[in-house]
Amino acid sequence: MPLRKPEAGSSSANAIELRGVGKTFGSGAAAFVALRDVSTTIEQNVFFTLLGPSGCGKTTLLRLIAGFEAATTGEILLHGKEIADLPPYRRPVNTVFQSYALFPHMTVAQNVAFGLQMLKQPKDEIARTVDEMLKLVQMEALKNRRTSELSGGQQQRVALARALAPKPRVLLLDEPLSALDLKLRKEMQVELKRLQTETGITFVFVTHDQEEALTMSDKVAVMNEGQILQIGTPREIYNHPANRFVADFIGDINFIKAEIVEVGKTRCTARFDGNQKLSFTPDAEVSKGQKVTLAVRPERIAVANGKNALSATLDNVVYHGTDTLYHFSLGDGTRMLARRQNSDGTIPEWQTGDPFGWAVSGNAVAIVADGPEQTA
């Protein structure tokens, strides 16, 4: 029998625990390492997002958890229990597939009922749950339609209802919104977040869209090339990216090569671009003479004119409706970007080559490592 209810005594707080999970496809010369040494804990009742570029191993990780693939190394614990021996149909997790994978020979209601029938639930209970689920995703009206007659957004809702119907304790979602157009995607993001909060089911959500990850998640794991590079809340990931890849992958960012020239109690000073100096509060241990890469988000750069302003040369100003983007270059050729909100309605006159004064507040600077070492 599938273990669907938490047994007394096994109420571990972690929904999923990955311990040194690795996956290699093929063998010999054709061997391909899709995941290496992935370790993390996913607490119950959180919206956990796996974020990374296409091909980084997100789907593979979900498939290991769902049981469609066996891990080459490491172990996967579900509510504190090792599940390597359980076939997919015995695991109390359900998946919303990237392609939805709705059964084409069944109606919407039959699709949603499928899991419940396989669990041998009584007929009237199945009917009740199906109605409840279809209501939840607002698809009651299309109950008896064939799935091939549905739009992408509707199919997505049915896939969600089908996966939620058996009331799994963990729901795996593989880029469920990527096939939808922007407007629908935004709506569904809100919807999914609401569903997760209401049902209290642990969501493991896969996406390559950083904005989606930031807006929906309680926790984000940023992946690249089969590894988890950083795990944290959206704010942590955004404001304190652990390394260059994470910083670059999530939103726009400026990198400045610098050397620490002075270390104070809470603040330190870095020299960059020849002899410009920037004072900031470091988010990592620094020592004098250390070469570092500083990361600054474009929206944290202010246009400044005073004598303390840092200097640069303007390349281009691009009007974006709500924002204006200032592209500028440092003396050593480093290209930079600043974003200002158009709150006062004036758009500055400018010419390429104009001097550009800028400033950064001390807590807006992050120090990032260059390599993609794991810093979970």
Binding site: F68, P88, F97, A101, F103, G115, M118
Partner: protein, 297 residues
């Protein structure tokens, strides 16, 4: 000529050759058969042209006594029913063997599949007669099958494997198996494996996935395969002739006999038309079912 007229004119010439071929090779022969079937027979073979007679059609259900009165006879009804029965058995056997075979093929690596498809069609490269003679060698007393059974000590004397319905069913199944395997294979190969995974994800065991997802999605292939096996099995001639004894005549053999030894052309023609009607009936049922399926919301 007006443009519309010109179009009809050209259309006529375009479909002309095809229409001519159909008329020469289908309509005329069928009309001849229908005509022959209502002529009176000539005992030396052939018919007395122009002497109309319902004798051939009456023969399906009646036989003529010496005093020229008709009495009810089941001789031919039995053969017709046996033909349908043996064809159904053949279809079921082909399905039982063919589905697992097709499933095995469709789940192999892509590079193996082409080879497997080739291997399934391999028997077609050999003459049908040769293949049936091969089955005689296998099934006869002291043949391969009996030899093996006795060597294993399962029996101590040969089982009657040849010259019965069993032999015919085996031979027909063997002959038409590829017609079952290939359509099923093609629908299974198209099957989206993610649907199978979705089934597993929703707590369906292997068996339940097969029953609730794979088989329903392979239905078009199963129906096509069944039709492709049933129809030629119904009209088969060589296999019952060689593997069946005198008691396992099928319609095909009966027709052959009417044009040969029995020299009853009208009855042969009537039987031929009857076989055609059976096939058309089977096809119509299939087509109607298909329409029902397609039109369902």
């Amino acid at each position: 000529m007006t443009p519309a007229r010109r179009r009809t004119f050209f259309n006529f010439w375009l479909i002309g050759p095809a229409a001519l071929a159909i008329i020469i090779f289908m309509v005329i022969p069928l009309a001849m058969m229908a005509w022959i079937s209502i002529q009176s027979r000539s005992y030396g073979g052939g018919v007395h042209w122009g002497e109309l007679s319902a004798e051939a059609w009456l023969r399906f259900l009646f036989e003529r006594n010496l005093d020229d009165s008709l009495s009810w006879s089941v001789t031919y009804t039995v053969i017709i029913i046996r033909s349908i029965w043996l064809s159904l058995i053949t279809t079921v056997l082909s399905l039982l063997v063919g589905f697992p075979t097709a499933f095995f093929m469709a789940t192999r690596d892509r590079k193996w599949r082409t080879l497997l498809v080739f291997m399934v069609t391999l028997p077609f490269w050999t003459n049908l007669l040769v293949r049936n003679y091969a089955w005689i060698l296998i099934l006869r007393d002291y043949g391969t099958a009996n030899g093996l059974l006795m060597w294993l000590g399962i029996t101590d004397q040969p089982l009657p494997l040849l010259h019965n319905q069993f032999a015919v069913a085996v031979g027909l199944t063997y002959s038409f198996l590829p017609f079952m395997v290939l359509p099923i294979y093609s629908s299974l190969e198209k099957l989206d494996l993610r649907l199978v995974e979705a089934g597993f994800d929703l707590y369906a065991s292997r068996w339940q996935v097969l029953r609730n997802i794979i088989i329903p999605l392979a239905i078009p292939g199963i129906i096509a395969g069944s039709i492709l096996v049933f129809i030629p099995a119904l009209g088969s001639y060589v296999t019952p002739e060689l593997l069946g004894g005198g008691k396992t005549l099928m319609i095909g053999n009966l027709i052959g006999h009417q044009f040969g030894a029995a020299r009853n052309w009208p009855f042969g023609a009537a039987l031929g038309l009857f076989l055609l009607a059976l096939v058309l009936l089977a096809m119509t049922v299939y087509a109607l079912r298909g329409r029902e399926r397609g039109g369902k919301p």
